[in-house]
Amino acid sequence: MQGLGIHVLFEGINFQRLLGGLWVTLRLALITIGLSCVFGLLFALLMLSRKPAAKVFCRVWLEIVRFMPQLVLLYIVYFGFARIFGWDLDGETSAVLVFTFWGAAEMGDLIRGALTSIPRHQAESAAALGLRKSQVYRYVLIPQTLRRLTPQAINLSTRIIKTTALVKMINVAEVLKVGQQIIGQFYRQPDAAFWVYFVIFLLYFLVCWPFSVLSGYLEKRWA
């Protein structure tokens, strides 16, 4: 086999296999993002509560996810939980658990930040205009909060997508693993590895970049 190794990607269903591998991490990322939004909201409400215990609890949680590399958390859940609790979790379940643990805290902090960044006089002015409490939220507070939150939440989502690549390290057959299998099959094509990893790099870029552009655009537009 001669010529550029990029043809390896178009042999048989190799490209579809690669996309299938990418979908494995993207699906994990989507589940994580969904769960992080739900639990993030709860986390934010907990952070804003007046109970000191709740605040300390959130603070400790947030510091843990800020200090621990996600890979360490993955190892603790994937390898450690079987020993500590006797739970033998598979790679994908561990990943969703860990990334949601992380994502919910980060999302919660973003929601809290967005909520508290609205000046008090906004609510007071709305009340002075005669809006009911529900109307104050519906027409004044929630729209402003969402405008501040959305670009940051999209940014966090791209971080989650990039971080899910780590499931490679706990034996989930994602895009890098599929790439390695393809390279193994075409070992006679020496530069296959170059092209396969280059294309995986581009695939990730093509997935994350539109979100980055959208986030930047919304930030400028709604600033």
Partner: protein, 223 residues
């Protein structure tokens, strides 16, 4: 928890921590240099280089380090570019970090209102003085929290260096785990090691941020 096992393996972890710290530091320093360079190229609108820098920042920020490392370490040698694991580690971390640092510096410069530079010029400051006394301190005050967040992020990201067969903390833990079966102790030490590395960085960040806040103007002053 088997404390004698933990005591016996502290030296292994110290060696791993040294690798993590050393290559983390190289990566951070190179990232700062690349970040400043990219930021300046864009700030002074140098043609061509400016587009190159913008493209690079997008590539770096929208792809996972793990994928970048696979490309560097397993892909490039197939087209004749052989790099040692250590070189891949530093280049990979710099590629990633440079993009993030460039964005941090840019947000700092963007935060300095144009009227500041104009006012500086009006009172007779030379362009160099204007940068030294007016623009730079204010930009730094805004950029520093993001820069420190990036430093912590980059040190955490070094945890994937184990795919390069480097004996960093992650790899030390993995070797002990597969060798001895003391999973809980191994993971406990791993988490403790990252905490001990990152806690001082975080404390330093808080101190430096507090010191630099003097340069704030108007609303940016602490309440």
């Amino acid at each position: 928890m088997d404390w004698s096992f933990i005591g016996a393996h502290v030296p292994d972890y110290l060696e791993g921590a040294w690798v993590t710290l050393r290559f983390g530091l190289y990566g951070v320093l190179c990232s700062l240099a690349v970040g400043v360079l990219c930021c300046l190229v864009r700030y002074f609108r140098i043609p061509v280089l400016r587009q190159v820098a913008a493209g690079y920042v997008e590539l770096a920020r929208n792809t996972p380090l793990l994928v970048q490392l696979f490309f560097l370490y397993a892909g490039l040698p197939r087209v004749g570019i052989r790099l040692s694991a250590e070189a891949c580690a530093v280049i990979g971390l710099t590629f990633l970090g440079g993009g993030y640092m460039a964005e941090a510096f840019r947000s700092g410069l963007d935060a300095v209102d144009r009227s500041q530079a104009e006012a500086g010029a009006c009172i007779g400051l030379t362009p160099a003085q204007n940068i030294r006394y007016v623009i730079f301190p204010q930009a730094l005050a805004t950029a520093v929290p993001a820069v420190f967040a990036n430093v912590i992020f980059l040190i955490k990201e070094t945890s994937v260096f184990s795919v390069l067969a480097m004996m960093d903390l992650m790899n030390v833990a993995d070797t002990l785990r597969t060798g001895g079966g003391r999973t809980v102790e191994v993971l406990f030490m791993l988490a403790a090691a990252y905490l001990l590395i990152l806690l001082p960085v975080s404390v330093a960040a808080t101190l430096v941020e507090r010191r630099l806040r003097y340069a704030g103007f108007g609303d940016s002053r602490p309440v």
